[in-house]
């Protein structure tokens, strides 16, 4: 028989494979139902809910101060940014103008959170593609940020540093010095990241041209954050709807047009530099002022609908609050970046290999509690 005849004789058939809920590349309990033909993916169907806690329903029961604490547990890697989103929404509704000091501190802490989150992502991205060393490099640097947070507010991950009306308490006297030390240290480390992973031939072969997302699809699927910016969709909330102190700092919105896994990777690495630049512009001139505007013990928002968005590490986080004037909200909806980004996964994974799906998912940087809420 010739090769062609053998090929015609061999028949393949489609079958289901469960990827997850306990899969090392899923970064949590995400279950993907894969329909595959050989190694080619025909369909990806996410099955969610393994750690759904119904935070939106719990919010309807709780007071506005309590809601802030629940948001830590959504995207735990950008916990401070989530807290900030709820506080900004409540302040917008109550028409509270926080002091410049609060705005600047919130921005610095949020950017540190973003760096910590991108560090972790960089570590696990390498790990997913078989380069375990990146994980240790990333955690070495992320640890320093967590130490700063611990000294500032007592918590390393779920920070609860923001409160409606300002901050829980002022920054620690060491905060400025330690942050500057960290920036000085970290500036020497990003080139190290590049030398270790970005320029690696195996890494580039596995990411370039893989998992391509076009700009039109990114917009239609509601994709945001570094994933959208890797496809050329200018969606940075910090730039287009500035909040806190982002309107007084000079930074670039990183945009690449390739739309592949490597582009998403590069966007995050460049964003590290932008975050450093934002912190450097603010850290020396933290204005004096009060760190907490007085609020009533029982906060009641005026009747109406409020929407506040912020740029979390994974994209646009929206907080929709519908208030009837009572002490707890009538309805709260969190527009989480992970949930919308996940909706596009099937579209770009179709026709690719299973190993490419792992690379694509790594570049999406899913945090499952953010998807499940």
């Amino acid at each position: 028989m010739t090769d062609q005849e053998i090929k015609n004789k061999i028949k393949t058939e489609e079958y289901f494979v469960n990827m997850g809920p306990q899969h090392p590349a899923a970064h949590g309990v995400l279950r993907l139902l894969l329909t595959i033909d050989g190694e080619i993916i025909k369909n990806v169907e996410p099955d969610l809910g393994y750690i759904h806690r119904s935070i939106e329903k719990m919010c309807e029961r709780d007071s506005y101060q309590q809601i802030v604490h629940l948001t830590d547990r959504m995207d735990y890697l950008s916990s401070n940014i989530n807290n900030e989103a709820v506080c900004l929404a409540v302040e917008k509704a109550l028409e509270i103008e926080v002091s410049d000091r609060v705005k600047v501190i919130r921005t610095i802490v949020s950017e540190l959170t973003r760096i910590a989150s991108h560090c972790l992502w960089w570590g696990v991205m390498g790990m997913d593609l078989g380069a375990l060393t990146t994980y240790f490099y990333a955690f070495r640097d992320r640890e320093l940020i967590n130490d700063i947070f611990e000294e500032t507010c007592g918590a390393r991950l779920t920070m609860n540093y923001n409160a409606p009306g300002g901050l829980m308490y002022d920054i620690h006297p060491n905060f400025v010095k330690r942050t500057k030390d960290f920036i000085k240290h970290f500036k020497t480390k990003i080139p190290e990241y590049d030398r270790l992973l970005t320029g690696n031939v195996i890494f580039q072969k596995r990411t370039k041209g893989v998992g391509i997302l076009t700009k039109e699809d990114a917009i239609s699927y509601g994709v945001s954050g570094p994933v959208a910016r890797g496809s050329g969709f200018a969606s940075d909330v910090r730039k287009h709807h500035p909040y806190s102190a982002y309107d007084r700092v000079d930074f670039k919105e990183v945009l690449l047009t390739e739309g592949d896994t490597f582009a998403r990777y590069q966007v995050r690495i460049m964003e590290l530099w932008e975050s450093i630049s934002i912190i450097e512009q603010l850290i020396d001139n933290i204005p004096e002022g009060s760190v907490k505007e007085p609020t009533k013990a029982v906060i009641k928002l005026p009747k109406g609908e409020y929407y506040q968005r912020v740029e979390a590490a994974r994209g646009e986080l929206g907080v929709y609050i519908n208030s009837t004037g009572a002490k707890n909200p009538y309805r709260v909806k969190f527009r989480s970046p992970g949930f919308s980004n996940l909706s596009v996964l099937n579209h770009i994974a179709k026709g690719s290999k299973i190993a490419d799906l792992v690379a694509t998912m790594a570049s999406f940087d899913f945090v499952i509690p953010d998807i499940d809420r």
Binding site: L48, S54, R61, Y221, G222, Y306, Y307, F339, S340
Partner: protein, 153 residues
Amino acid sequence: MKNEDLQNIINGLGENLEFTTEATEFLNVTVPKEQLHTICSQLKSNPELKFDYAFCISGMDWGKELGVIYHLHSTEFKHEITVKVTTEDRENPILDSVHDIWQTAEFHELEIYDFFGIKFNNHPKLRRLFLTPDWEGYPLRKDYVDEANMIIK
């Protein structure tokens, strides 16, 4: 574009549209459910509107009515509106799917079906997304009671 101009253009797209800007930062359009799909497709295709980015789609239980709120943004003109659609049928609420207009809606409609029980016409595959297939009731509805798992203050 200003809200007044937006209102003038959108008003020409359908009948019996209600507009309000009270107690919200966006222009709010309430659309009769029969016209939802036609108006939404025009909101996206109209060259003066081009609402191509549905950044938030939320289910809602107003007590008597169920419904959906669409937060829309135009990446070209940067203007924003919210579209609301309601149905009074709590036993068998059915709305049209808009997943062919904004593809992200396919996923958000699954979430709304799961938590509010609103069914969507023409949805490719309506299923329980977060909860198990045999779960009874729709947890984010206001009249949902689950004594075992809910703490009610």
